[in-house]
Amino acid sequence: MEQVGLFPVLAVSAALFLLGVIGVLTRRNILIVLMSVELMLNAVNLSFVAFARHHGTLDGHVFAVFVMAVAAAEAGVGLALVILLYRNRHKVDLDDLNLLKG
C-alpha cells in the first residue's frame, strides 16, 4: 500500500460517506435509510484504519472495533423499531412519521 498513499483511501471513504448521506436524506424506505447509516459508519471505519496505517499506531483499529460495537447496538434497536412500526402502520415509509414535526 506504500505506492497508493493515504489520499486515495480517504477519497474512497469520503465517497462512501457521501453516498450514505444521500441515501439517508433522499430515501423514504426506513430499512434502506438504516443501511445507508451502516454505509456511513463503514466509511468512517475505513478512515480510522487508513490513519492507523499512516501513523503506524493501533488506536485507529481500536476505534474501528468500538464503532462496530455501536453499529451492532444501533442495528439491533433500529430493526426492533422497524418491526414495531410495521406492526402498527403496515408501512415502512418515513414520511408517514410526522407526528412530532413542527
Binding site: M1, T26, N29, M68
Partner: protein, 169 residues
Amino acid sequence: MFEALLFYTFSALAVFAGAMVITRRNAASSAIALVASFFCLASMYAMLGAHFVAVIQILVYAGAIMVLFIFVIMVLNLREDNDPGWNLSPRAVLGAGVGGLVGLTVFVGASAARSMAFVPTDKLDPNFGTIEQIGYTLFSGRYLLPFEVVSALLTVAVVGAVVLAKKEL
C-alpha cells in the same frame, strides 16, 4: 504495483456497491449490495494491515448485522411494489448538496496535508494489526473504560430491542 491495482479495483467495487445500496427499490437487493460493499472494505482493511478489523468486518458486519437486516426484510415481506420510493423535496436535495460540499472541503483539506505517505512496510511493526497487539492496546490503560462502557451499551441495546419488539411483556 499489483497491490495498488487490487486496491483501486476493490475501491471502485465498494463505491459501486454503495451506489447500488441507495438506488435499488427492492430492500433485499440493497442488503446484498451492502454485503458486497462490506466485503470490498474488508479486503481494503486487510491491505492496510488491519487483519483483525478485516476479520471482524466479515464476521460481525457481513455476518451478523446483515443477517439481521435480511431477516427483518424477509419477516416484513418487503418487495418493490411496497417501497415508498424517494423523497426529493428541496430540503433533502439541499441537504445532500451541503453534504457534498462538506465532503469536498474535507477532500481538499486532506490533499493539503503535510505527509500523505504510509509508514514503509519494512519499518512497520511486524505484529501490526494482529489480535495480540490490538488486545494490548485495548486492555492496557486508555481504552479499558470505553471497552467496559461498550459492554454496558450492548447490554442496554439487547434489553431495549427485546422490550421494543415483544408484543406484551
